[in-house]
């Protein structure tokens, strides 16, 4: 068993853990990374979109050998009722650039690649090993971990908790609270395989171009939720997620929601004839800035989903995970370089660096959005999607009704549903929460 002491132990081999381990090992630190899965990625679930800018800061030439599916040239936002969708589509040839900005990826493959880079950088990666407890010294400083493998505790100057949204170690040790039902969403997802050329035909793509659809509306049955459909090379990732508190209150079954989304007339044709090869479920942090826990302490830092670092409004998570992992790694390298100890006071550097990055700036900007959407879910996810569909249909259906009457009917429907004052108030609340 391992008896030597490490500069750092990283718990978890997802985006945050890999970024932290890679950063520290690249700078010559002696790093041990623990992963409970059979291989890195075997416990990880994501949509998944990967943002190039954040990975470039860690592995600049990642495009040479990373398993990337498609680069995105089109984004569709859909507002759905049960028979329709109203959409905003943005497609640009500008995204066909030498170094594309966003890619779809398949996490199990991507994480294996990332982990190989971590090992090449010099870290020791131990899979099939669950970290079960933190080890403390007599002063209460974290000095390592215990695992489910037989043997002594494994010691390190600092422990990086990259254990994911459902991380047990930090919550059991009282370093942070367990996520609350209203600060996490449960998402279910399927992998639908189709021939490459069929995907390209159905979405109007060529070569490695990709398309993303994100959809809200009656599909979440008045819960706060979002559905997605991402094109991979020869598969489509498709799923839906809603707040756990909403699921508990409504007792809706996630798999029923998923199949209803798949059977929606706007979606059905896109996946027709596909072969499903996997069904996955995962929690997504949704609490935003106000749910971010204490990020550092004596001998430990927490990164990625475990720290609720997820921008639900922009549906960004893996980039915040990667960036927080990298920044934690850089902070630890700096502390080590100055021959300082990994005390709470010194590790505050991680928080300071994170504050000046987009990670906490973006989360702070949208700090009031979760409360707005979570407490008025029926309004935002049922009433408005239906009203938008009604307005759009009234606009495009030509049936001899004079336009003035049509417009009056649309306005009347909005007022009937929300009242004049309600419409103004909704608009203001959204604007204030967004600003």
């Amino acid at each position: 068993m391992i008896e030597e002491k490490f500069d750092a132990i990283v718990v978890g081999a997802g985006m945050a853990g890999n970024a932290a381990a890679f950063t520290m090992a690249s700078c010559g630190l002696k790093v041990l990374q623990l992963e409970r899965g059979e291989y890195p990625g075997s416990k990880n679930v994501q949509g998944a979109i990967m943002y190039a800018h954040m990975l470039e800061k860690i592995i600049p030439d990642f495009r040479d050998d990373a398993p990337l599916e498609r680069h995105l040239v089109e984004q569709r936002f859909w507002m759905m009722d049960n028979t329709s969708h109203a959409g905003i589509h943005y497609r640009s040839d500008d995204f066909n650039e030498a170094k594309p900005n966003r890619y779809t990826i398949i996490r199990a493959q991507f994480d294996k690649w990332f982990s190989r880079k971590v090992r090449e950088a010099g870290a020791t990666v131990l899979c099939e090993t669950t970290a079960t407890e933190l080890a403390y010294d007599t002063a209460g400083k974290v000095v390592g971990v215990r695992t489910d493998r037989a043997g002594e505790r494994i010691l390190a100057d600092v422990v990086v908790l990259a254990e994911g949204v459902n991380g047990l170690l930090g919550t059991r040790s009282g370093l942070r609270e367990m996520p609350k039902p209203e600060t996490v969403a449960l998402a279910v997802k399927e992998m639908h395989f189709l021939p490459e050329e069929l995907i390209e035909q159905r979405f109007g793509l060529k070569g490695n171009e990709g398309c993303v659809i994100e959809a809200a509306g009656t599909i979440s049955r008045s819960m706060t939720g979002l559905a997605f459909l991402y094109t991979n090379k020869e598969s489509i990732s498709l799923g839906i997620g809603c707040l756990v508190s909403d699921f508990a209150a409504t007792m809706e079954s996630p798999y029923v929601l998923l199949d209803a989304f798949k059977n929606h007339p706007s979606v059905r044709a896109l996946i027709a004839g596909s072969e499903v090869k996997e069904y996955a479920a995962h929690l997504i942090p949704e609490g935003g800035y106000k749910a971010v826990p204490q990020l550092f302490g004596d001998g430990w830092v927490v990164v990625g989903d475990a720290a609720q670092l997820n921008n639900a409004i922009h549906r960004e998570g893996s980039n915040l995970a990667m960036t927080s992992g990298r920044i934690a790694g850089e902070a630890i390298v700096q502390i080590k370089g100055r021959n300082l100890t990994a005390s709470k006071k010194n590790l505050a550097l991680y928080k300071t660096m994170l504050e000046s990055s987009f990670v906490l700036k973006d989360l702070r900007k949208h700090k009031d959005m979760p409360a707005l959407l979570h407490t008025n879910s029926h309004t935002w996810f049922m009433t408005y999607p239906q009203l938008i569909s009604l307005a759009a249909q009234n606009l495009v259906r030509v049936d001899g009704t004079p336009k003035l009457e049509k417009e009056k009917a649309t306005t009347a429907a909005y007022i009937a549903a929300r009242s004049r004052w309600g419409l103004v108030r909704d608009a203001l609340r959204l604007a204030f929460a967004w600003r």
Partner: protein
């Protein structure tokens, strides 16, 4: 109008997945109870792997073999002590091929 959905069989979905079950060592346990709390009862509907079922005498039981380790039940029922939740031993449990 609602969207017509054929009967959903979760078993068929889980059948696609890869698991290494740690036989005889379930990682989730339900505390014995007379009648379940609303949250515990909700798990029979909202657990994405349908691990929780109501038995004939009104108690919630768990068969965790198809568990995808999402943690929904932990978030809802661990704090109250109604369930205990641990990770499967290293290497065991769900093994996502794609994730």
């Amino acid at each position: 109008m609602t969207i017509a959905v054929p009967t959903v069989r979760v078993e068929d979905k889980l059948y696609q997945n890869r698991y290494l079950v740690d036989a005889g060592r379930p990682h989730i346990k339900v505390r014995p109870h007379k009648s379940p709390s609303p949250n515990l009862l909700a798990l029979t509907r909202i657990c994405p792997a349908k691990c929780y079922e109501l038995n004939a005498t009104g108690q919630v039981e768990i068969a965790a073999d198809g568990c995808m380790e999402c943690g929904t039940c932990r978030v809802l029922c661990e704090a109250s002590g109604e369930i205990t939740w641990d990770y499967p031993r290293g290497g065991f449990g769900v093994l996502f091929k794609f994730g």
